[in-house]
């Protein structure tokens, strides 16, 4: 399994546990808008904190926008950027 695939699966696991979506995350593709799928602003805070725990990163202020947590792909891009900085 590719590294990217592992990352996406971990992100999907966090979303499944914390985003409280109206539909199962498995039915959404990586580009799907999580807020449109029922993730509230407050649930996005839980997702952010769970991602930080899971990936041992801290989102900098420049990433603290709704768009950072808009989709699996957006989260993946943000995490990749963070991990490449720390690597």
């Amino acid at each position: 399994m590719s590294e990217e695939r592992v990352l996406r699966d971990q992100i999907r696991q966090v979303i499944d546990e914390h985003a409280r979506l109206a539909v199962p995350i498995a039915t959404l593709d990586d580009q799907a808008d999580l807020f449109s799928a029922g993730m509230t602003s407050h649930a996005s805070v839980n997702v952010m904190l769970a991602l930080e725990d899971c990936f041992e990163v801290e989102f900098p202020e420049s990433m603290l926008r709704k768009s950072t947590f808009q989709s699996v792909a957006a989260i993946g891009a943000a995490l990749s950027e963070l991990q490449s900085v720390s690597a």
Binding site: S41, H42, S44, V45, M48, F59, E61, L64, R65, K66
Partner: protein, 304 residues
């Protein structure tokens, strides 16, 4: 040489020196003079006339709210830093001895208390929603609510009190009417404040959401146009102070409190809230510390 204070501390010092407000030793917690209270009561009365015009049911509220009600408002999710909770002593003789010992020794006696069934009320209208549970009459209902509120944000800015009086006109019922109440109230509120000589402008606003994503949540609230404030310069022209706000809650309270419209749909709500203390201080700054010298039309509107 006296070092110039910031404009907020400066105004507070002037209010203390004039004995309009009295220091309690805690920032944001003040005694009020009879003159100050007379102005605040007159401001309350302006809102009361409004409530009367719309046939509002008047509810005067204590500064405390049932913990169960507080929990349902979801306040803790957005504003944990502003909360104050009432704790009480439920112990026996031995616990009492230890309590007194700790007080005498300067120890951590509050640790021996337990959460009570009440919380300090952060907004006047919160206590109202459980009273509305069930089916509303056709057309919904208007309420006029007032009471002291608490928010833990100690500050030397005299307009940012920890304990302050809030006066609200609330509509609960149909979604369209709720939206209209918000819009109409903003205009009427601005007009009332303009008529007493305050230079107030409306501005889209957001609540001070807590945490690192707070700014993002606030941006969402701004985008959706859910909250507007009436602001006026009190201490600073660049950073005017909000003296009223008009808010559309949608079903934020109707859903958790089981409030239904006459046709059984989840009720929406909207409120216009006035910061009575902020309006009082704005008037003192605008017209001077002696209300007997205020312009005739302003006096007429407030005191006759």
């Amino acid at each position: 040489m006296r070092i110039a204070a910031d404009p907020y501390t400066e105004l507070r010092n002037r209010l203390f020196e004039a004995e309009l407000l009295f220091s309690t030793g805690v920032d944001g917690l003040y005694g009020r003079s009879d003159t100050y209270q007379g102005i605040a009561d007159a401001v309350d009365h302006l809102m009361h006339r409004w409530g009367h015009d719309v046939g509002a049911t008047v509810v005067h509220l204590p500064p405390l709210i049932a913990r169960s009600t507080f929990d349902s408002t979801d306040y803790i999710r957005s504003f944990p830093d502003l909360v104050g909770s009432v704790h009480v002593f439920n112990g026996g003789d031995r616990d009492h001895v230890e309590l007194v010992r700790r007080v005498s020794a300067g120890g951590d006696w509050p640790a021996l208390l337990e959460p009570g069934e009440i919380v300090l009320s952060p907004a006047a209208c919160y206590s109202l929603y459980p009273m509305c549970a069930g089916r509303l009459p056709a057309g919904g209902r208007y309420f006029e609510v007032s009471g002291y509120c608490f928010r833990h944000e100690p500050s030397t800015d005299p307009t940012r009190m920890q304990a302050f009086k809030m006066h609200e006109i609330v509509y609960v019922g149909e979604p369209d009417t709720a939206q209209r109440h918000r819009d109409d109230s903003l205009a009427r509120g601005l007009s009332i404040l303009t008529d007493i000589g305050l230079d107030v402008t409306a501005t889209p606003a957001n609540d001070p959401f807590f945490g690192r994503l707070g700014a993002a949540l606030a941006a969402g609230q701004l985008d959706e146009g859910l909250k507007f404030e009436g602001v006026t310069a009190i201490c600073s022209d660049d950073r005017p102070t909000a003296v009223m706000s008009a808010n559309c809650h949608r079903d934020h309270f109707g859903a958790p409190f089981g409030i239904e419209t006459a046709t059984g749909a989840v009720a929406h709500s909207a409120c216009v809230g006035f910061g009575v203390d902020r309006i009082t201080i704005a008037l003192l700054v605008r017209h001077g510390f002696d209300p007997s010298t205020w312009p005739g039309p302003v006096r007429a509107r407030l005191f006759s």
